[in-house]
């Protein structure tokens, strides 16, 4: 019953997880297919670009959330971190006229600082992640309110280079989406191939066993929250670049969408299993639903209900799959 065990028995789990990604891809293709059949313009260049634009930020945040959820944690503060980072970056760009290239590191730094705060409260203060990040959700939003007040950063205040970064693309793929996908791949490799990444799975599967096996739990937890914060911070920069308008409410309530994307993407909310690929597909699926509704002329009021139903369906499916897998393994075990 240790983590080593989960490595050896992972063929089954791998299969299940791959099925999950496959299932998401099937759902995506079906949805896009139906929508396109009803309105061919849904697959036009412009429309696909728009979709990728819209998915970029959620994708990035879902990536960070995956890392945290893997350790049985949660980060509810991502929306506020995004807001803070977007505002700080936006005002730094408009006030100091600093070069656009500094925007990304600045946003990352703001986010990483918030993530460090979360990690410290959780690790050193022994505060449950739900409570800690709920608290920082309020506190950081309050800080944004203080900083921004009633002001708003308009597109005309931002350097053109920054806005071009927000709206430009290479070969039809927006820069923003490319950044998100690169990050997603990097985090995926980190989780799958590196010791520190595997440790996060171990911590989520069985914290006690992981500790006994010598995993530095505290350091790994800090890594997870700093990473989640930093990606939310980067998300803030992308947000500012894409919309050009930043006010105190940027990213408000976004945490729900991100948690939904992660859960739909097959990352188990009690830790230990899931991939960034799944979470990315989850984010993409939610964005496609969001964009398909107006095209399909479905009342936009249904959107939130659909998201909720998807979350319930996804966790119920996870449960079913894991129960079956466990039963199958037990049966296999009894034959030996």
């Amino acid at each position: 019953m240790t983590t080593v065990d989960s490595r050896t028995g992972s063929t089954w789990l791998d299969l299940v997880l791959r099925f999950r990604a496959l299932g998401l891809i099937v759902a995506l293709v079906a949805l896009v297919g139906v929508t396109t059949a009803l309105n061919p313009r849904f697959l036009s260049g412009q429309s696909v670009r728009d979709l990728l634009f819209a998915a970029a930020v959620t994708l990035l945040l879902a990536c960070g959330m995956t890392v945290v959820v893997l350790t049985r944690g949660i980060d509810l503060s991502v929306g506020s971190v995004l807001g803070l980072s977007a505002y700080v970056t936006g005002s730094a760009l408009s006030a100091t006229g600093m070069p656009t290239v500094f925007a990304l590191p600045l946003g990352l730094a703001v986010g990483a600082a918030c993530g460090t705060l979360n990690g410290a409260i959780i690790h050193f203060g022994r505060v449950p992640p739900l409570v800690a990040t709920l608290g920082t959700l309020y506190v950081l939003r309050g800080v944004v309110y203080f900083a921004a007040g009633g002001s708003r950063i308009n597109a005309s205040d931002l350097p053109p280079g920054f806005l071009d970064f927000g709206s430009g693309d290479v070969l039809g793929v927006p820069y923003l989406f490319a950044v998100s996908v690169l990050v997603l791949a990097a985090v995926g490799v980190f989780l799958g191939r590196y010791r520190a990444g595997r440790d996060l799975y171990a911590l989520g599967s069985n914290p006690e066993a992981a500790r006994l096996a010598g995993v530095p739990a505290g350091r790994r937890l800090m890594t997870a929250y700093v990473l989640s914060g930093a990606l939310a911070g980067l998300g803030g920069v992308l947000y500012a670049a894409r919309f050009g308008t930043v006010d105190a409410s940027a990213g408000y309530g976004m945490e729900l969408d991100v948690v939904a994307a992660v859960v739909v993407g097959g990352v188990a909310i009690f830790g230990g299993s899931g991939t960034t690929l799944g979470a990315g597909l989850g984010a993409l699926l939610l964005t496609v639903i969001d964009n398909a509704l107006p095209v399909l002329r479905i009342d936009q009021f249904w959107q939130q209900a659909i998201v909720g139903a998807l979350i319930l369906a996804a966790i119920a499916l996870d449960r079913l799959v894991s129960v079956r897998a466990a039963r199958a393994l037990r049966r296999k075990g009894s034959h030996v």
């Binding site: 849904f42 429309s47 007040g149 009633g150 597109a155 308008t245 006010d247 107006p294 095209v295």
Partner: protein, 360 residues
């Protein structure tokens, strides 16, 4: 577990019986919709048009939410007016645009016996009982920008006449597309009082006015006054209607988001965009050719007029009856219309020629 099931059921029955009984009892002869049970305050004071503005009054401005540049501008106008009138001014409100948070603020202000409350309401009805209490305590309630039920306030300062805005919006759109082709509207929320009134005017005019015979309103979508949502709704509109010629967005958030989307898309210059926006937000898009002309009233002047209206009512110069006249400082003379509505004036149009003259 097996033995527990009948018990569950029994407990459920136990729990629901009284409730159901009450429901059934009530079903015969209950209170249903449409039964008017009266109520509401009645006026009765008389106006003295020659009275002077009282000094030393306390004014509080309660916007839909703080952290909103539009209301910041209104508050600047109101503060200037209050300073000129020799009163005390406070700008306060919730950070979320919800009616329930506004109620708490109204309760607080009425305890502090504020003389004049300048309010932009998040819900036309939810604030009424609190407003009634405030008025019973002697507070003059003037709504601006967004009204409540006329029975719950003294006066409403309207930014513009609904008909005038609707007509101006349609006229600008028609000028930009030679009065031919499909148009769509990107509005705020589906129950936004102002926007719906303007949309009604536009729809009626499209039907009745022959010079708009070749224009067709194909869709109305709602961006909920959220930047991101308005942005993606614009996107959805253009996908759903390939032949769309113009978008009218009668909300500052909507037009800015739509302009931002258009300027970065292949539709730039192909699809006309007009509506209500602030010059500071739209300047860039007028300069890059995405937008030709849009309109808005001056929110600063709106706040100023609201403050003068409140002062006039608190000083007994007006009571809110139709036809009463008062002078609002530099803004000039205003007449109270039907239902206690004071109208600021026609909207100002902004285009490449004049946009740099404005800063709000």
């Amino acid at each position: 577990m097996k033995g527990s099931k009948p018990m569950n059921r029994r407990r459920l029955t136990l729990l629901t019986t009284p409730v159901l009984a009450a429901a059934m009892l009530a079903a015969c002869g209950g209170t249903t919709q449409g039964e008017d049970d009266g109520g509401g305050p009645a006026g009765g004071a008389s106006a003295d048009p020659n009275a002077d503005f009282e000094t030393g009054l306390t004014y509080a401005m309660l916007p839909k939410s703080v952290n909103n540049p539009y209301f910041e501008a209104s508050s600047a106008g109101a503060e200037a007016a209050v300073n000129a009138l020799g009163g005390e001014f406070e700008y306060t409100g919730p950070s979320d645009a919800s009616a329930s948070s506004q109620v708490s603020y109204i309760d607080t202000l009425s305890q502090q016996a504020t003389d004049v409350l300048l309010l932009s309401a998040n819900d036309p009805n939810a604030l009424c009982s609190s407003l009634e209490q405030a008025r019973a305590g002697g507070t003059v309630v003037v709504t601006f920008d967004s009204d409540v039920d006329p029975a719950c306030r003294d006066l409403f300062v309207s930014q513009v006449d609904s008909a005038e805005v609707g007509l101006a919006l349609l006229e600008m759109a028609a000028e930009q597309i030679d009065a031919t082709g499909e148009i769509a509207i990107l509005s705020a929320t589906a129950n936004a009082t102002n926007q719906n009134a303007w949309i009604d005017v536009m729809e009626a005019e499209l039907e009745s006015n022959t010079s708009y015979a070749d224009m067709e309103l194909v869709d109305v979508v709602y961006g909920d006054d959220e930047d991101e949502k308005s942005f993606s709704e614009t996107q959805g509109l253009l996908q759903a209607h390939p032949d769309l010629k113009a978008i009218i967005s009668p909300t500052t958030v909507g037009i800015a988001a739509a302009a931002r989307y258009l300027s970065g898309s292949e539709y730039k210059g192909q699809v006309a965009l007009t509506g209500l926006g602030t010059p500071n937000q739209m300047r860039e898009f007028v300069q890059d050719g995405t937008v030709t002309e849009f309109a808005l009233w001056d929110p600063t002047a709106l706040g100023e007029l609201a403050a003068y209206t409140g002062a006039a009512a608190a000083s007994g110069i007006i009571t809110g009856a139709e036809g009463e006249v008062f002078t609002a400082g530099d803004l000039g003379e205003y007449t109270v219309g039907a239902d206690g509505v004071v109208t600021l004036g026609p909207p100002t149009r902004f285009n490449a020629d004049n946009i740099d003259d404005f800063d709000f």
